[in-house]
């Protein structure tokens, strides 16, 4: 790679970096920041996982064995917030940081310093969220947020300091997400290589672009809702108090106006990376690029107009029930386009089944379960039975674990050779996949039946008829949780590939991979694309 066309001082940039911790505190390099996001996400994935394993252990048998209901209520809510805001979203932002500049032929993200800020807001936010656990040990306050992650007023108005900590944490997390989104949008709009039109943009970038717009539109609404909650708690306002002319249901509207798009915020980056993986391991170009892009846009638009299906039991007027039912059902159409394109991409290819491909296919099948159960959940009448039950818990874990987290794992295995320069341990990867997929189903399939039998969610103890399925679910969860240590070990091993004697990865780490990122060396040079690739047709 020649440096001739860029300013000469840039070539010495590595040397200007401070060493040690300061390097990471001050870095503006998209690859460093991407790695920090991904590492942070992995750590928080284990923190959130440990919380829910404690919950599952409590639910192994009827009766209270390990904890009191107060602590149980704190664990379930913080588990959700940690997994969503501190594991899944940072992981997706990590992908964006690493991959978008590589994929569009840019030297870095457009706003590198904002990028650094976006990341360094996360650790304090995570600390704020979990600190009340520790404070309670020292006798200050009564623990963390105890209302579930939905923070419904007036329960959250009643809560202790944990609620205030969560409100501040959410503000900081929100600012971080908005900064990240701004960076993605302006980078994609301004730093594409010459000749890369929007309809030639890699589909992963399209997925992230829609996610970024959704974040910009909905995070301020969540921030507004929790600010109102804060003023209701401490400054005598009555946004959510009927006695003062407010309405508790207003909070649910505001929360889910953010909360439903949030589901797609978590999933769009994954839907974006899937076609790349499927095409690579099918050795065939992806099917229906345009159809997928338009589906992303359609899902993005639909996602902001279906929110009230999260509280069908709250007593909405009939026309509202019907509208939200039918609009929710409509999402199945663009989603079906995506499934069709994924399967058509594999169709008549020459498939091989390396770990990323296994994860991608596992993702498609289990995310299918989530999509189809989502379709029946949209039905208001049947929803009266499913709502607030374990059926819903099973449904959204098929969407967000099998869909979100397994999608992230697909991406990690797919790009790990590019990031580290070494091929990860394929045997460990496959072991990780099979353990994950089997124990995941063992954990969540029984929860569908628990929900149908009438077990409400968020209860620390349950009636005797729910015993067997809960026991099975807990065994599954333990296997699922501990299997993830293989994942962490595999990444660690790959990151230190030289010391572990792993094979170096070529620039094009996968035989069937196409796209700009594979034109660079593995790992890519310090300034990713110092010379812009030119995608214009010769003579055009």
């Amino acid at each position: 790679m020649s440096h001739a066309t860029t300013a000469p001082h840039e070539t010495h940039h590595d040397a200007h970096y401070p060493g040690g911790i300061m390097r990471w505190l001050t870095t503006t390099n998209h690859k460093d920041i991407g790695s920090m996001y991904l590492t942070f996400a992995l750590i928080m994935f284990f923190v959130g996982g440990a919380m829910i394993l404690a919950v599952r252990a409590e639910l192994f048998q009827p009766g209270l064995q390990l904890m009191q209901p107060e602590f149980f209520n704190q664990l379930i809510g913080i588990h959700a917030l940690v997994m969503i805001f501190a594991a899944l979203m940072p992981a997706a932002t990590g992908f964006a940081n690493w991959q978008i500049p590589l994929m569009i032929g840019a030297p870095d993200m457009a706003l590198p310093r904002i990028n650094n800020w976006g990341f360094w807001l996360l650790p304090p936010a995570a600390i704020l969220l979990t600190l009340p656990f520790l404070l309670a040990v020292f006798g200050i306050g009564d623990g963390a947020l105890n209302t579930g992650w939905t923070m419904y007023a007036p329960l959250s108005v009643q809560g202790g300091i944990g609620v205030d900590f969560a409100i501040f944490s959410i503000h900081i997390l929100g600012i971080s997400s908005i900064l990240g989104s701004i960076n993605v949008i302006v980078t994609i709009f301004n730093l594409r290589a010459p000749g890369m039109t929007m309809m030639k943009l890699p589909i992963f970038c399209w997925g992230w672009l829609i996610t970024a717009f959704l974040l910009i539109a909905t995070i301020p609404v969540l921030a507004g809702a929790v600010t109102m909650l804060l003023t209701d708690r401490h400054f005598g306002t009555h946004f959510f108090n009927a006695a003062g002319g407010g309405d508790p249901i207003l909070f649910q509207h505001l929360f889910w106006f953010f909360g439903h798009p949030e589901v797609y915020i978590l999933l769009l980056p994954v839907w974006g990376l899937m076609p790349h993986v499927l095409a690579t391991f099918s050795r065939k170009p992806m099917y229906g690029y345009k159809a997928q892009v338009y589906s992303f846009i359609a899902i993005g638009l639909l996602s902001v107009v279906v929110w009230a299906h999260h509280f069908f039991t709250a007593g909405l007027p009939v026309p509202a029930l019907l509208y939200f039912m039918y609009s929710t059902m409509a999402i199945s159409l663009p989603l079906a386009v995506l499934f069709f394109c994924w399967i058509a991409t594999m169709w008549k290819g020459a498939m091989s089944f390396e770990t990323p491909m296994l994860f991608a296919q596992g993702f498609i099948i289990m995310f299918g379960v989530a999509g189809l159960t989502g379709l029946v959940l949209a039905d208001v009448a049947a929803d009266a039975q499913y709502h607030h039950s374990y059926f819903v818990i099973a449904h959204f874990h098929y969407a967000l674990f099998a869909g979100g987290i397994m999608g992230v794992m697909t991406g990690v295995y797919y790009w790990l050779p590019k990031w580290t320069g070494y091929m990860y341990d394929e045997k460990l990867g496959k072991l990780h996949f099979w353990l994950t997929v089997i124990s995941f189903n063992l954990t969540f399939m029984p929860q569908f039946f628990l929900g149908l039998a009438g077990m409400p969610r968020r209860i620390p103890d349950y009636a005797l008829q729910f015993t067997e399925f809960n026991a099975i679910s807990t065994v599954g969860a333990m296997i699922l949780g501990f299997s993830q240590l293989i994942f962490a070990w595999n990444i660690w091993k790959c990151a230190r590939g030289h010391a572990n004697g792993l094979a170096p990865a070529e620039g094009r780490a996968w035989e069937g991979a196409t796209g700009l990122e594979w034109e660079l060396s593995s790992p890519p040079p310090h300034h990713s694309w110092e010379v812009q690739p030119d995608l214009r047709q010769p003579g055009a």
Binding site: D142, L155, Q158, P285, K290, L321, K348, G368, A381, I472
Partner: protein
């Protein structure tokens, strides 16, 4: 690369059979229990029957879609593999009219399933479910409160609170769990069969959700607002459910038990309840001895207060303060003129404290119960203030 394909050829079937073995293992202990539930419990109202039919139909449809779609994918995974020498095609979209038709047919089918096969029955079910206002035979008002339900029959004025009756020792695994563990109450709500009961819901503190799975009814109880739903129970029996919206500490211990009986039996029960209530109201005019108040107060304390303030009165600070040695409890009872003192013990019990789980008990307890529990708290739980308050004094404060 070679090892990869060997894995798929030899170990993929192995892994799949291990997976199905796991699934079988999953079903084994359950099938050992003959009455184990894989679906909704037996429906006893028209709504629940509708819901079950819709659910069964929809499950069949989505299972069908799942099998067809992933059979196609599985076929591709076995046929279009590099290891069997399949040469990759190059297409990136539908080519030619035939392929366009193939690509569009699934969406036409899905559109039809969504809005016709599923959409039409769903529409009728919603309309029926929300039909609360026509031809109601009676009204039942349900008030959710942390962590119990209050039931009120406006026509006859009968009103009572229903608390979970499962002993705390069963929850703490100190004694064997009963048959209806966590799903049993001290006062069951009684309803007549074959009558359309219009149910009004509200709450005094946070949002609760009233749910009886066999009725197919789940509706939120929202503080400051009325929500409604309806049931027509078709078979006599005892039906159990519980609160479905996280409402704080004892959310898991807030069961609903409905006893459905034939009309005459219901009428007799209402008369009995009415008589009980009148007897209790008469008690507020007589003068009670301290021992009588303490005995009654202990009963009330254990049913209403001990969940938060704990049976020994030590509470769970800071959310649930201790009553033992509390400044408020040991403060003055009433002003010299017999008036309420702001933020005193009596004020707290009667009017609650806004923004906390401490509710206004004057709405749910009668004069005798209030006087008894106040007297009890001042002279038990490690306190020995020595004074007492008469039901008549409470009555004067209302």
């Amino acid at each position: 690369m070679k090892t990869t394909h060997r894995f798929v050829r030899h170990r993929l079937p192995l892994a799949l059979s291990a997976f199905s073995a796991a699934l079988t293992a999953l079903t084994l202990p359950a099938s050992a229990l003959a009455d184990y539930s894989w679906n909704f419990p037996p429906p006893v109202t028209p709504i629940a029957r509708d819901t079950l039919n819709i659910h069964n139909e929809f499950m069949l449809i989505i299972t069908g879609i799942f099998v067809v779609v992933f059979a196609i994918m599985a076929y591709s995974m076995f046929k279009h593999r590099k290891s069997v020498g399949h040469q990759p095609a190059k297409f990136t979209g539908p080519m030619g009219r035939l392929q366009w038709i193939w690509a569009l047919v699934p969406f036409a089918i899905l559109l039809f399933i969504d809005f016709v096969v599923m959409g039409i029955p769903a529409f009728h079910a919603v309309i029926e479910m929300e039909d609360t206002k026509t031809k109601a035979d009676m009204v039942l008002k349900i008030t959710g409160m942390q962590w119990k339900w209050q039931y009120e029959y406006p026509e006859s004025g009968v009103k009572f609170i229903s608390n979970m009756s499962t002993p705390r020792d069963q929850i703490a695994n100190k004694e064997a769990k009963g048959e209806n563990y966590l799903l049993e109450v001290d006062n069951e709500v009684v309803l007549p069969v074959d009558k359309k009961v219009r149910i009004l819901l509200t709450s005094t503190d946070v949002i609760h959700t009233w749910w009886v799975p066999q009725f197919g009814v789940k509706r939120d109880a929202i503080p400051g607002f009325l929500r409604e739903t309806w049931v027509r129970i078709e078979e006599p029996g005892v039906y159990r459910g519980q609160c479905a919206e996280l409402c704080g500490k004892d959310h898991g211990f807030m069961p609903v038990v409905v006893r459905a009986v034939p009309e005459p039996e219901y009428a007799a029960w209402i008369e009995k309840k009415k008589a009980e209530q009148e007897a209790a109201a008469a008690g507020s005019d007589k003068t009670w001895s301290k021992d009588e108040l303490l005995a009654k107060g202990k009963e009330v304390y254990e049913a209403q207060c001990s969940a938060c303030h704990q049976p020994d009165g030590k509470g769970i600070p800071p959310a649930f303060p201790a009553l033992s040695g509390s400044k408020i409890v040991l403060g003055p009872l009433l002003s010299p003129e017999g008036k309420l003192i702001r933020d005193s013990h009596v004020d707290r019990v009667l009017n609650g404290k806004e923004g906390t789980a401490m509710q206004a008990f004057k709405a749910t307890l009668n004069d005798v119960e209030l006087a008894a529990v106040i007297t009890y708290e001042r002279n038990a739980l490690g306190n020995s203030k020595g004074d007492l308050i008469q039901p008549a004094q409470i009555k004067a404060l209302r």
